[in-house]
Amino acid sequence: QGAQVAFGGMQQDTDAPVEVTADQLQVNQSDGTALYTGNVVIGQGEMRLAAPRVLVIYTEGQGRIDRLEASGGVTLVSGEEAAEAERADYSIDTGTVVMTGNVLLTQGNNALTSERMVVNLEDGTAEMTGRVRTVLNQGDDAAQQ
């Protein structure tokens, strides 16, 4: 069963420049794969995707980035929402982030967990699938982690 939630709250221009900063980048000279390691932060507009490792997958024509595969514990922050997962694949052209593996989405003091979540940055929505559970916090105590 899936749950449709708002994420990031506002539309984001997926044509805005994408900035990737990291401690280190390793490029394999023979096949050209590019692997960013060490505090990698991918930023576009309001969205920040942080992960220890990000692999860059280029499109065939080698002039465009097809997607960025972040792994090793990913945090996606957009507006006041934040989502965590083990992996996230961010494809820039379609503006979607597919997060898999123990996805935890916190909104204010509500938290949703699931196996998989597809965030659509363009219209600010997210769809969670796979054992979706909601943790509602009554009263104003902070969300227990």
């Binding site: 997926t14 044509d15 805005a16 420049p17 994408v18 900035e19 990737v20 900063t21 990291a22 401690d23 280190q24 980048l25 390793q26 490029v27 394999n28 000279q29 023979s30 096949d31 050209g32 590019a34 960013y36 860059v56 280029y58 080698q62 002039g63 465009r64 980035i65 820039i92 052209d93």
Partner: protein, 200 residues
């Protein structure tokens, strides 16, 4: 003999004496009298421009192959030995090409460089341009490359264009030996890429 004949024969007698003497005098003017100028003194010598002892090697090139079959070829427009010894050479408009066994290639180009035979390395200075077949075109200020193995590192920040987007990094290390069999371009000390989906 008739007195009239005397004067004629005396005249001839004197001639027989005077004429050879005159000939001798004439002949001696050929070499006895010094000529006005001494030819070897004022031969036009050219004043040497700069130190005449400065040798120059035009179009030097250096080639080496590593154990794994990666080839390195270093060529320059001209080079001159540093303080006379041939083991340290200052080369101008240097071009180094690293051809990997797997067919990919990295070229390093710089205005000037110091090739040192003892440490088997070359220091490239000036606008060093690094291009790689993986689509990276970058420049840096100074770079050092080994001559007998695939090992190069920039001694200054490096910036340029990647396969997609503009690119800056604190340092670039090109290594081939230990990490894996493929040659790696390792950008360290902080890396930043700006990729614009509209025009990559």
């Amino acid at each position: 003999m008739a007195p009239r004949g005397d004067t004629y024969s005396r005249f001839v007698g004197w001639l027989k004496l005077l004429l050879p003497l005159a000939a001798l005098a004439l002949l001696s003017t050929l070499f006895l009298l010094p000529r006005g100028t001494e030819p070897t003194i004022d031969l036009p010598f050219m004043q040497g421009s700069g130190s005449p002892g400065r040798e120059q090697i035009v179009g030097p090139n250096f080639a080496g192959t590593t154990a794994k079959g990666d080839q390195l070829r270093l060529t320059a427009e001209r080079a001159e030995p540093v303080d006379g010894a041939l083991d340290r050479i200052r080369a101008f408009s240097l071009d180094a090409a690293l051809d990997m066994a797997d067919g990919s290639r990295v070229t390093l180009r710089s205005a000037e460089g110091l090739v040192d035979e003892n440490t088997r390395s070359a220091d490239l200075e000036g606008a060093v341009e690094i291009t790689s077949t993986t689509g990276y075109v970058m420049t840096t200020e100074r770079m050092r490359t080994a001559l007998d193995r695939i090992e190069a590192e920039t001694l200054a920040p490096v910036s340029g264009k990647g396969p997609a987007g503009e690119f800056t990094a604190g340092r670039l290390v090109i290594t081939g030996e230990e990490s894996s069999d493929d040659v790696q371009l390792l950008f360290t000390d902080g890396v930043k890429l700006v990729y614009d989906p509209k025009d990559p």
